[in-house]
Symmetry: C2
Subunit: 385 residues, 2 copies
Amino acid sequence: MNDKLIYLDHAAATPMDPLVVEAMQPYFSEKFFNPSSPYAAGVAVKRDYQAAKARIAQVLGVVADELVMTAGATESVNLAFQAAERTVCAVATIEHASVLSAAGRYREAVLIQPDHKGRISPEAVKQALAPDVGFVSIALANHELGYVQPIEEIARVIQVERERRRSAGESTPLLFHTDASQAAALLDIKVKRLGVDLLTLSAAKVYGPKQVGLLWVRPGVHIAPTIVGGGQELGLRSGTENVAGVIGFAEALELAAKRRKAEVKRLQGLRDAMIRKMKAELPEMIISSDRKKSLANFLNISFPGLDAERLVFLLEMNGVMVATGSACAANSGTRSHVLSAIGLSASDIDGSLRITLGRLNDEAMVVRAAEFIIQSVRKEQERIK
Amino acid sequence: MNDKLIYLDHAAATPMDPLVVEAMQPYFSEKFFNPSSPYAAGVAVKRDYQAAKARIAQVLGVVADELVMTAGATESVNLAFQAAERTVCAVATIEHASVLSAAGRYREAVLIQPDHKGRISPEAVKQALAPDVGFVSIALANHELGYVQPIEEIARVIQVERERRRSAGESTPLLFHTDASQAAALLDIKVKRLGVDLLTLSAAKVYGPKQVGLLWVRPGVHIAPTIVGGGQELGLRSGTENVAGVIGFAEALELAAKRRKAEVKRLQGLRDAMIRKMKAELPEMIISSDRKKSLANFLNISFPGLDAERLVFLLEMNGVMVATGSACAANSGTRSHVLSAIGLSASDIDGSLRITLGRLNDEAMVVRAAEFIIQSVRKEQERIK
């Protein structure tokens, strides 16, 4: 990327790490064999594929056969909802479009409201657990605020309800799914710690290839495949395996796990430097992301009365790339349902920028970006005065 | 690949063309932006993605907005069957596992039998078109025999039935889908010529990336998405676009189209040289693929009484890679349903090899391969005598 560009939208897309590209390369034109073919070269590719799944599984603290490899988080989420079968779903109002759309296919969905910070409290989940609710889906970290939900506590609430049902002789199952796509680069995603039954991941958010993802399915949980055919992925997702993609995913996840601690600290520093600089010059700035509870790379800010799309445009003239919300939502031209759910006014939402830092950023860059934001905001304030 | 290896399984997997890899490379770590993002760099990626779709569309003689990009042929086939809605499906008994599995999800499926060469006759389709049949799916070229079906004639039969229904005031729609994945490297796939309503393609079979495919949908045909979310691909297939993959697909398809004529001729020559050599030494060899009507690269042969899996093993010791059937079927350890449908006995089927030639082969290689096949067959014949 051009040296003058400052990319602050790592939640929308991440560049593939050079080590990831390198790991994938041999599988493009040399080890290109179909993993289901009978000769040794094909069997070797199958083994490499399985080894990559095992490496991914280790990052999650699970075994390879519990992973269904998919073409990205959206497919994984859709597949996870197959486990809901004919029960009622409960999802947070601030979920990503994929979760809301998948839930929308069911006859009914219970919506769980966050508090003003974006937190989904275990109490709110508890209240949502009517006897006919069979499937709960809450992202580990929200895609606009980066807020990290108390998934472990929520899992305990769900476990208590499960036990109540068992004692009461009720037969409705209760499953808990989390989309950990945004969180995976910066949080420990061991499923045992989280206590969920199904977990979605995306390679594209952890400096891996696009359209590669997975669904982890706890043993014993039944899901019906959305894509049927040759019976790959233990029959849960047919289609010739994306060998290069899955090997890239394994490399990307391991790198993320290895660099996690240092990277979190580094990004917190960068984020705080930005906040300090901007807050000093623009005290009217609203910060919607939580400094303690949001992912270290998320900074959601708002300038009431301004038009964020104009800010995006002004910033871009200086090489700074930021988003007004999630890429999907921005594209549809609708107002962020996430910021609305945490109580921001229409005017606050319209003046909101989502800044997400990452590996492409360093201190000098973010300070320069903060300066450009200050300039652009002042310019816009002048214009509409 | 090692110079001593002779890869004769191009129907199972193709190596990515170096030009395809080159075309994809910039989109891994440089132009990695989310195509839905608002800044110019993202918009440029979106434009590149759309341009790639337009290039693919041109090969098919359609427009880009009629293409739904997917994660491969299996997903495309599953998506195509969404158009069947609640009607009865009619499929050939010799279809790929993905088509048979997708059809198997419906309450009923009419099975159409091929003749002894693997041909699905327009008459057989006509007879299958009961008034409640709403969806027909027949591959352009069969995945084990390479037999090229008379799709245009079948399309006319379907058109006649459509008109009959219209005149009779019957409301059951009738749609025609073809999986052209195996055919695309060597046949003209203009949809206007074929006369179908839906067409599946796979990049992995035309020297492009794995897990990239498409479904062409004739304007006016309604399909419900299998994967919902951010609303990409005009709402028919959500998930952040596989930018690199689709650009690689465009490059691969254009290369195939450009090289098609010469390649068909070249492969016919190679195949015929193999046949001549083997037939002279092994007159008992049965050839199940049709020299005129099968794709130029397909050669399905059988040695009654022998165990093809042992032949695969012996050939591999000499570096020759062949399949006993499709990779999916081989993996499941079941007897080929295709060869069974065209009337081969169990013994003939068990002694069958699928040889599929391609860009990795030249004259010297295939002659050497034929020699190894002759040796291996003789060795096995000796052993069981």
